[in-house]
């Protein structure tokens, strides 16, 4: 009986298994491999920059941890979709920032994806030693972060940004471990409408109801939240 090499039913069982294995190997090496390439390109960009592109690490740190004193944000471990959207919004003017706007405009769509992919792959913030802070300001911040203040219509930060503020991918970034100067500047930017790229105006609604003191307290708390406080 003639065998038809294109008909799977005519294949020897062993060659059937072999074919399946080949397909699997090809898929396995292609899938993660492609993602890995993006990440590597992103890493190169982060470390060396490019024409008209400052290396990301110059401001965002060698491990994407940010720079607390200057208020440059932590990028490591943020959701990929969130990071990509920020780069796009710096290009299209929905998010204003003198340093980031020219860089974002210099990045190609592909490079934006690579950079976002790279930083999303880095480990996010982890609580280290417990801070012993219990000042009234710190307590106010923890209260707003964990419970909000519904008398003023302010939901808890963690209601959307995930338990312990670790983020809720794909749209809600991590807040925990973010430099307080950065968080403070963002809340004020929403008030002043220099940042207006929040989905559905969700953050604008919250920021508008916060006082200066509440913004300070919340930003300070989020820089180093006490994670055990979530459940008493």
């Amino acid at each position: 009986m003639r065998t038809n090499p294109f008909n799977p039913r005519c294949l020897h069982p062993a060659s059937k298994g072999g074919l399946l294995a080949m397909v699997l190997i090809a898929w396995a090496s292609l899938g993660p491999g492609a993602a890995h390439a993006d990440r590597l390109a992103g890493a190169a960009l982060a470390q060396q920059g490019g024409p008209g592109i400052t290396a990301c690490l110059a401001c965002h740190g060698a491990r994407g941890e940010g720079q607390a004193a200057a208020g440059f944000p932590r990028l490591a471990g943020q959701p990929k979709a969130y990071l990509l959207k920020q780069l796009q919004d710096f290009s299209n003017g929905k998010r204003k920032n003198p340093q980031m706007e020219p860089i974002a405009r210099a990045l190609s769509a592909r490079q934006k994806r690579d950079a976002a992919d790279y930083y999303a792959s880095l480990p996010g913030w982890k609580a280290d030693a417990k801070t012993a802070a219990s000042s009234p300001q710190f307590l106010l911040g923890s209260r707003l972060a964990i419970r909000g203040n519904w008398n003023k219509g302010i939901p808890a930060c963690f209601a959307c940004h995930g338990p312990d503020g670790a983020g809720t991918p794909p749209h809600f970034p991590a807040l925990a471990g973010q430099p307080s100067a950065y968080t403070r500047a963002q809340l004020k930017a929403w008030q002043a409408e220099t940042r207006s790229n929040d989905p559905q105006g969700l953050m604008k609604a919250v920021a508008d109801r916060m006082t200066e003191a509440e913004i300070d307290a919340t930003s300070l708390y989020l820089e180093h939240p006490l994670l055990s406080e979530r459940r008493e």
Binding site: G148, P155, A159, C160, H171, R231
Partner: protein, 324 residues
């Protein structure tokens, strides 16, 4: 006739055993005593009713009381159009602050109740059959006005409910939540979960009047929609306002195996016997509370439409139907 009465009067006087004027004296004394008791009582009850509309000057008292950290605020009357039947008096009430949680055994039970309420998945796992927590529909730990707060519900029980055609205790009501909204099973009477949730509700409502409707109870009822609620319009509302958190497929958003945003339909959502399956309940909740932090952003029609869309999807069956 007057002569006969006078004769009787004189006759009685002269026998010296009974002076007829005593009758007058006794009647007069009774009237005086009754007057002393009754007239001021009348004044007081009148003053109570007149006092209610007189308190209009206070715009929303107690709203900031949670800030002060003080004990439960006194019940303050809300603006009323006219004196009404005492059963429908709406009073404003603020629950005690969480920093004032009691200590001792009672405090422990209240804390457990609060934990069950906020994280039902962990603390009452055995009685939950879906991915929800109590706090998903009762925002702010069961404290937020217009989001069916516990402090406004507690004092309204026992109450007759059409749902099961009998008088329900507050415990009965809680078990209903577990069977339908949580698609699970009723914690048995006397279980630590029920006792803890009872204690938490009791603590939140301390100082509130019993049997009267408190401002902020339940979800604020909407007027009948101008156009019949429509799934297709609702889908558009959903995509523009809800999908970012609840997902394009309404299945919520999970972080490390737990729902950060709850699923609105499907196997992990409330079952077909839950109150939220009634469009008017869902629309009222959505209008007052969704998107989170943007309550009353949707129009009433949008809330009706999106509620209709949400409840047009399949969900776990009503246990009362499958059992029969």
């Amino acid at each position: 006739m007057p002569n006969r009465l006078r004769n009787w009067f004189e006759n009685q006087k002269h026998t010296r055993t009974f002076h007829p004027s005593w009758i007058l004296l006794v009647v007069a004394a009774t009237l005086i005593i009754a007057g002393i008791v009754w007239i001021p009582a009348e004044w007081i009850s009148k003053a109570e009713y007149e006092h209610l509309p007189a308190a209009n000057a206070v715009p929303a008292p107690g709203k900031n009381a949670a800030q002060t950290g003080a004990a439960p605020t006194a019940v303050e009357p809300l603006p009323l159009p006219a004196p009404t039947d005492p059963k429908t008096i709406r009073v404003d009430f603020s629950p005690p602050d969480v920093d004032d949680l009691p200590s001792g055994a009672f405090g422990e039970t209240v804390r457990l109740g609060r934990n069950i309420f906020n994280d039902t998945q962990t603390y009452a796992r055995a009685y939950v059959g879906n991915g929800l927590n109590c706090v998903n529909c009762h925002l702010d730990e069961g404290r937020k006005a217009d989001s069916a707060p516990l402090w406004a519900a507690y004092g309204m029980f026992p109450a007759y409910r059409e749902k099961n055609r009998r008088v329900n205790s507050y415990e009965d009501r809680l078990t209903g939540c577990f069977r339908f909204s949580m698609n699970g099973k009723a914690p048995p009477p006397g279980s630590k979960e029920l006792i803890a949730l009872m204690s938490y509700s009791y603590w939140l409502s301390r100082g509130a009047p019993v049997g009267v409707e408190l401002a902020g109870r339940g979800y604020p009822k909407l007027a009948e929609p101008q156009r019949p609620p429509d799934e297709a319009r609702g889908k558009k509302v959903f995509e523009a306002n809800c999908a970012i958190c609840h997902g394009a497929d309404g299945q919520g958003t999970q972080v490390s195996g737990r729902y950060a945003f709850p699923p609105l339909w499907g196997k992990d959502s409330y079952n077909a016997g839950a109150g939220m399956t009634q469009i008017h309940n869902a629309a009222a909740f959505i209008r007052a509370n969704m998107p989170l932090g943007q309550g009353n952003k949707l129009t009433e029609q949008e809330a009706w439409d999106v509620a209709k869309y949400m409840n047009s999807h399949s969900r776990p069956a009503d246990p009362r139907v499958t059992q029969s």
